[in-house]
Structure formats: C-alpha cells, structure tokens
Amino acid sequence: MTLDTVKHATETPESAQPWAELGLKEDEYARIREILGRRPTGAELAMYSVMWSEHCSYKSSKVHLKQFGEKAPENDALLVGIGENAGVVDVGQGYAVTFKVESHNHPSYIEPYQGAATGVGGIVRDILAMGARPVAVVDPLRFGAADHPDTKRVLPGVVAGIGGYGNCLGLPNIGGEVVFDACYQGNPLVNAGCIGVMKHEDIHLAKASGAGNKVILYGARTGGDGIGGVSVLASETFDDSKPTKRPAVQVGDPFQEKLLIECTLEIFQEKLVAGIQDLGGAGLSCATSELASAGSGGMRVELDSVPLRDATLSPEEILMSESQERMCAIVEPQHVERFMEICEKWDVIATVIGEVTDGERLEIFWHGEQIVDVPPRTVAHEGPVYQRPYARPDWQDALQADDAGQLARPATSAELKDQVLQLVASPNQASKAWITDQYDRFVQGNTVLAQPEDAGMVRIDADTNLGVALATDGNGRYAKLDPYAGAQLALAEAYRNVAASGAKPLAVSDCLNFGSPEDPAVMWQFAEATRGLADACQTLGTPVTGGNVSLYNQTGETAIHPTPVVAVLGVIDDVTRRTPIGFAEEGQLIYLLGDTREEFGGSAWSQVVHEHLGGLPPQVDLERERLLAEILISASRDGMIDAAHDLSDGGLIQALVESCLRGGTGARLVVPDALDAFTFLFSESAGRAVVAVPRSEEVRFTDMCTVRGLPATRIGVVDGEEIDIQGEFSIPLSELRTAHEGTIPGLLP
C-alpha cells in the first residue's frame, strides 16, 4: 500500500476517493479540492469528512443558531459566550460557573451502557477543558413506550452506564428527567449535562498560539474506537488486507477520566498551559484543527508519535478515532518538563506530538512524510453552511384543530378520583426513584437538592454557602403542537424550577433534539423552536451560553417529536435559604400562584386518559414567568414560604401529590369558586406554582403578591394523611404512594 502523501495526491489528481461513503456531498468534495488546489490526501479527506459532518459543523443548524448570539440579552454575568467548549457565567464572590448539555443519542441506542457512560465522560471533559472542576452532572433522558420490550433493553443499560461512569468519577447526579413516548422507540435521547466551578482567573480557552509551543496529547492511548466512516476509507480504497471492521462503539474508563481530571486541574493550578481542548467527536482531527484555527499561527504534528493501543491503525484512523479520556494541551517549551512530571505522578501517558508554528497551515506528518497540509480554519470553522428549505407541515393545522378541550371529561367525582390515580401512576408522571436511586446524588457532600426536587442544587463555597442550581426541561408533546411555543415553555419550565428552589436564573444551555434536517417539516420545527427560544431568552434576560444540536433522530420517515431540552442555571447566595418541594409542616397554608385556564392541549391528562395529542399547548406569558420567579425568590430569601413546587405536566394534582409524598403529610383542598374541579386539578397552564406558607407569614406573603400583581389563591391547608378535595374525593397517602412509586419498578426487571 502506498502512503497517500500530499506529494502523491498532487501527482495522482484523478485517483478516485470514497467521499460519498464518508458522508460528503459532491459539491462539498469539490469545495475541498478547490480549497486545497488539488485532491485531498486520504488523511485530509478523513479530517474534512468528520469535521464537516452535521455533528461537528452544525451546517444545517448554524443559520438558525446565530439568533442566540444576535438576540442575546445584555448580561453582565456572562464571561464566556457561545463558541467555546462551554459558556462561563459569573456567580459572584470571585467564582465562575461553566455548564453545558450535550447529546449521546445514537451511540446509546446501539450500546446503551457504553453509549450513556461515554456521554457523561464527554461532557465532563468539555467542562474540564474550560479550566473548571466538574462538580455535578444531570441527565435528561427520553425513551420509547415504557412497556415496549426494547425499552427494557435500552433503559437499564443507559441508567447503569450513567450511574457507573458518574459514580466512579465521584460526581453527584443532581437532576434531569425521564420521559417515555413511542416516538423515541428507535431513537432514545440520552442528553448529559455537567456543571463546573472555577475562579475567574482560571478560565482556559481552546486556542493554540505562540510559535514553538508544544502540542501535548495526554490521557488514554488511541485505539480503534468510534471510527465510523474511515473503516470504509481504510478497507475499500487504501488497504484491502485490513481484517477487522472498526466498531462505532467507544468504551469508557472512568478511573482513567478521574486521573485525567485531577492531573489537568493540577496542571491548571501551576499555570502550565496556553490553550487546551478535550478530545470528543472527531478526536484528533477536531482537537488539532480547532486549536490551530482559534490560535494565531499554524501547527505541525508528527502523527506517528501518538501512543497507540492498536499498532495496526492507519493514519486516517488515528485522526478519526474517538478513543475516550484524552486531552490536548498547548504548552510553552519551558513548562513541558513540569507538565510531564505531573502527568507521570497521576499515571497519565503524555506525549509531545507536535508544535505551534508561525505559518498558517495545519501540517501532519507520518513517518517523515507529509500527509496533511490544510488551512485549519477551513476544517474547523469555515465548513459548509446550508440554508435548508423549511415549510410548515401540512398536517400542522389539523393537529392544532384537534382540540383536547373536546375530549370527554370525568362526569362524576368517582371518575375524577380514578383519573387522578391513573395519572400519578402513569409512566411519565410516576416516581423515577428506581432510576435516580441508581445514581450517587450526594457524593462530595455538597448536594443540597437533587431529584425529585424541582432543581438540583450544590454548594460551591463551604464558608459562605454560595450555591448554584440547575434544572432541565423539554416537553416534546408541546413542541410538536407548536415548536415556537414549545421551546419557550421548555425554557419557562426550567426557569420556574430554578426559581422555585430559591435560586436566581442566570443563563441557559440547550440540547436541541430533532429529526432529519433534510425534511422541510423537521427543519421548520427546528427554525421555529430556535426562534422561540432565542426570543424568550431575550425577554427573560438569560443568554444561551452554548449547547448542542442532535439531528437525524428518526426511524425511516418518522421523526421524533421536536425535543428542545433547555437547561437553566441559577445562583443562590445562601443554600440554607433554599426551598424544597415537600409539604412538611401541618397547618401551613397552600397557595396557588398564577392563573388557571382550560388548557389541556398536549397535557399529561390527554395522553394518559385519551392517548390524545392535539390542540394548542398552554399560553406563554414570559412577563408572568419573570414575576412569579421574583416572588418565589424573594419569598424564599425572606422565609415567607417553606415549600414550593412548579406546576407543569400533570397540573396541580401532580404537584400536590409529589409535595405531599415528599413531605409525608396530607392536604385538604377546596376548589376555588371560579374553577371546576377538573380544570383545577388537571389544567397545565404555565406560569404557576404551588407554595406552603406558614400562618405567621400569610399576611406578609399575600401583601407582597397583591402589591406586585401576582394572583395568589388560598386553596387549602397541609393536614392529615390523605389528599382531600372538598366535595369531590379523598385518597389516602398510602394509596397514592403505592400508585406513584410502584409503576417504574413494575415495568423494569
């Protein structure tokens, strides 16, 4: 086999190349030839193909994602915005927090355990690369129907993978969601988020500057993990003798990652790096081209110095390998020795693989021969950008006209009671303790709130009790009915959840999960959802700091529900002032905040009782969300409320059941005059929360709501051992607990 060097490529311009098998389009291949003024070598083709893939280049989504920057609200807290590994926000007292959500959907369907585990590993390295110590993770998950046989394969594997990897790293898992819907049957969504904490001066960026600085690859050896396209390249064109088919599955080693974290933090502490990047999707191709592209000069890499796990790997495969637990650092020559000492101390393999040059090219050599000579920006940042056609699907009107308000409502109190029990026991509304109990939620001792609370919250300073909260939400059913409103409702819910815990919402990260961008209907959903989210972030003053897009989530022609998962980060000055969801004190008064309307489109009730999806999602009122949040935060800080729970899917009754079961107390409630019992219990109007107010604080609390103009209705009192709706029904807590907590363990082995 001849090595396809730059020289060889120049001499054999007409040699056929497997660009189509690598996922490139004809015009993209032509563009690469135009950039280089010759055909690309095999290694260059490998790099361009992975870096210009949808996953790395955001070529279909970029034109819409721009709005997050253009519409970004003024926010003094934002220290690093979109474009880096993760955004960074100022949380006060000299601390900065970085957070981000990413997807690992496709790998988790193929191999649930390793797919989910490496999803956690990847997001943790992203956070680490910003200079921060990772302090907590969250996992928003979507699976197929709860009773489908394949869910029994995928869910336990995913949960064990998240738990296994995160628990080994010693990172508490403080939140996330689990949602079941048949639309995710062939495309489970495994999103993973991470929070990291640092001091302002410790922020690190992914750039390679300073000619003569060394490029150091450290962490695990490089093996044949996760090489998708290049197997085609290797087997069909360059080497027919290659025996094994390279799998797309990456296997993680959390103990290696733990060493990598501690080693990297010590390196940061001694200020030994000028730039740093983690290796995730597209491996070395991505790290070298992004570092060089963001820096001021070029880069020269000796690829044969990369430590290998499998000596038979070709240079193309080394460039594309997605072996886990690797990082790439740019280090000034005088710091290299100390860098190596620290790596040795932590038993981490580190190798100088190249250096920053004063040129403008990324040059890669293999046994002394040049195999890559490209302008790095064309690989990393100037990939193709598509204006994909989009159109409102023709079925959208019919879907919205199929009003859930027309569905048969319970006619008697007995029927109402049955539907309450049915709702709280349904897979989506049931307790997820079986899942979240498999994660370590309290390791490190800084977790103050975790599932099933509204938001996860960790203390970041032991002396001052400064803390941060994170909530993730995303209702695919709402977004299917109206993607613009659905994305806003996802943001509103996460924002409300953070505020209900007592923290002030600061910034947003998102993971946008959609079907194929080549389908104009899906592209319309994407365009609407991003526009909705950008508009809402502007109104609420919470900028999007970064995130991830996952497209092609579909089976055949059928796309998943558009599922924008939104994470909101909040800050709380003193975590001892936090508000839990549980009603714990008998005699406290229960207030419903906000307006309740007859809104059932996309509701949990319509799904559970009627298997229906149609109509419009609840109205969005962002000014109301902001007011509600301000009231919840003030009331928490001044000790006016002892419990708060946001109202979302399942409506008031779902929130009441959760708050009562969490606190171990019952509640006696009266239906307000203006509402019927059914609407009172099941409506999913947004901008609402339920709170428990100590009697001594009632006047102060209601006065505050009156002055600020927030409707607050006294609906009952914390009391007894049952939930009693006056004139309708009463259900003992024990019965509710059995219904709510028995479902998930009963479905899964």
């Binding site: 390793q114 093996g223 044949g224 993990d225 094994t244 799998p247 296997v251 080693d253 103990f255 499998d310």
Partner: protein, 84 residues
Amino acid sequence: MARVVVDVMLKPEILDPQGQAVQRALPRLGFDGIAIAEVRQGKRFELEVDGPVDDAALTRIQELADTFLANTVIEDFTVKVEPS
C-alpha cells in the same frame, strides 16, 4: 453429562480497562522480567448439559450465547464441547 464452554472476550479493538489494570499491576507486584505486552480479560461460562450434546443442543447454546451471554456489539464468543 457433558460440559459446554462458552468463552466471551471483548473484541480486539475494544478498550479493556480491566485488562489494562492487570497489566499495569504486574511490575508493581514483582512480576517483571517477562515482557507481557498486553493483558485482556474475558469471561468463561461452563454449561453442564444433561443428555447428549447434539447439533440441536449446540444450536440452542450458540443462540443463548449470542443473545444472552455475550454482548455481540462489543464482544466475541466461542462455544466448545469439553470431552468428558
């Protein structure tokens, strides 16, 4: 009574953190002086079968190894009958 042995190994290209940990422990525990370049760790199942191990039985065992004992996304397996 016959014994059928199913050996399950991670595919050669898949990372084996346990095998690596064993290899790294060797010099520390005094097992140096021999050049062990790599260690890979697998699983061995011994199935005691009542009655004859005929083609039909082997086909069933092959099937159970393929679907249950091994995760063929990341593992290979072999089935062999041990002489009694």
